[in-house]
């Protein structure tokens, strides 16, 4: 089952804020892809026309048109002509294992391990502060993001990213939270791969429970250790998978 938008609202959040930076076309495309991944836009759904899309995202009509064209080429939307025409979210557009494997093939071991170190540093900083600042409601919310072992890989991937965002929310640091969102974007669909492995899911469930327990017990050092192990489980899995290429 896919996470419903309400429980995934934070990873979605960055999706819909107005865009000002460069790479506008890519940004628009990325946000629509994320909206699809998180279930807010679903297959068969009609997209706004380029004027409406441009107004909603604060970009020019030209940018919106280019983005729609790029999404069409990537097979994420399809366009129908005529009276009931328009752009629609295509079928089978959810992040796939094939796309994730393509992404993994493009990365070196150095890139993966360095990204892992950065991710560990930020996640550990969040967890340490969260252990000092958490209250009972925070811990209940955090535990609600721990998925069951039977959940499908897409659900797992979203739940893991939401869990770590919640740790950042409990830490109540806007800068750390923004950095975490950026790192998750850098990891992209890669994290889908380990989530398909039952062994990884079992290990990770234990680590998620450890992180939640340490935050609840207000033990910053234990929370940092547990969250580092959680990130390492992902990086180690990816490095092992990547080495099979050689």
């Amino acid at each position: 089952m896919l996470l419903t938008p309400q429980s995934a609202s934070r990873s979605l959040a960055a999706v819909f804020t107005p865009i000002k930076s460069r790479g506008l076309v890519d940004e628009v495309c990325g946000r629509i892809e994320q909206a699809v991944e998180t279930g807010l836009l679903t297959s068969g759904q009609r997209l706004p026309n380029e004027t409406e899309l441009a107004a909603a995202l604060g970009v020019s009509a030209v940018t919106a048109r280019e983005a729609l064209s790029q999404l069409r080429t990537a097979g994420i939307i399809r366009t129908a002509r005529g009276r009931s025409g328009g752009s629609f979210i295509a079928d089978n557009v959810l992040p796939s294992r094939e796309r994730a494997l393509d992404q993994l093939r493009d990365l070196t071991r150095l890139q993966i391990s360095d990204l892992g170190l950065h991710y560990q540093a930020i996640a550990a900083a969040c967890a340490g502060v969260a252990a000092r600042r958490s209250d009972a409601a925070d811990v209940a919310t955090l535990r609600s993001f721990i998925p069951t072992a039977e959940a499908d890989p897409l659900h797992w991937r979203l739940a893991l990213s939401e869990f770590l965002l919640e740790v950042a929310a409990i830490a109540r640091s806007a800068r750390l939270a923004r950095e975490l969102i950026r790192l998750q974007a850098d990891l992209g669909t890669l994290t889908l791969l380990p989530c398909a492995d039952a062994g990884y899911r079992t290990t990770t469930t234990g680590l998620l429970l450890d992180v939640a327990a340490a935050i609840e017990a207000r033990e910053p050092a234990a929370a940092e250790t547990a969250v580092k192990a959680l990130v390492a489980a992902t990086t180690d899995w990816l490095l092992t998978e990547q080495s099979k290429r050689y």
Binding site: S7, F16, T17, A35, L53, A56, A168, S173, A174
Partner: protein, 236 residues
């Protein structure tokens, strides 16, 4: 009286300044909620997104462009039923350039699911009462550490909640406005939310977001509907 704390008269004066600032925000929001309800009730026929935008945007513009104002962003969020069964509608803008927040969600037929769990939406809808959420890191709009003041909107006194109006106040702006008064109240004077979480503190070891405790024998002053100033706080 502790030597790090000012006289009770001085404290009352400065706590009163902060109370007036927060109460001002709450009163402005209540008036806006009432005006919005009246205007929505007066719309003939089906309520459209365009009509809502036209109603809300000028008020947001005035709020966020007030010199030295506290409001970083503001807007209206429709409850299910106003525009469609599962549909919400967000008319929210932030910053002096009036960035339109989350507008792509307005194209989703199940957009209400995006907001129903959020405290700032859920509580005023369920209770029919105004609410303050936070301080919390706002991932949806500002990406900042904020307080969100929200108020239910009714088209009829005995009718359902048709939506909420709200204002985001960043902790950063509040600190600029509150720090001088807190310092005059005491070296460890602290503005806290109902959970005892510090919003702004004069004490160097209490940061925004930390849980704190009132020192024994300190005085407590209400600030708006929900907040308190402790004339002296201790870090937990």
């Amino acid at each position: 009286m502790s030597e790090t704390t000012a006289s009770i008269d001085t404290i009352t004066v400065h706590a009163g300044e902060l109370d007036a600032a927060i109460t001002g925000i709450e009163d402005r929001l209540a008036a806006w909620a009432a005006d919005t309800g009246t205007a929505l009730a007066a719309l003939s026929g089906k309520v459209t997104g365009t009509a809502v935008d036209k109603l809300i945007r000028p008020v947001v513009e005035e709020l966020v462009r007030t010199p030295d104002g506290y409001v970083a962003g503001a807007g209206f969020l429709a409850n299910a039923g106003l525009l469609g069964p599962e549909r919400s509608y967000i008319a929210w803008w932030q910053g002096e350039e009036l960035e339109h927040v989350d507008a792509l969600a307005n194209f989703s037929p199940n957009s209400i699911s995006r907001y129903v769990k959020s405290e700032w939406f859920r509580v005023p809808v369920e209770t029919g009462q105004p609410h303050v959420t936070g301080p919390y890191v706002d991932f949806l709009c500002t990406d900042e550490y904020v307080l969100t003041f929200t108020h239910p909107v009714f088209c009829r006194a005995d009718g359902p909640v048709v939506g909420i109006v709200g204002m985001d106040v960043t902790v950063q702006r509040l600190e600029r406005g509150a720090m001088a008064a807190l310092r005059r109240i005491g070296e460890r004077a602290t503005l806290v939310n109902p959970d005892g979480r510090a919003i702004v503190s004069a004490a160097p070891d209490i940061a925004a977001g930390d849980l704190a405790a009132a020192a024994d024998g300190c005085s407590v002053h209400p600030v708006g509907r929900k907040f308190r100033i402790w004339s002296e706080a201790t870090a937990l």
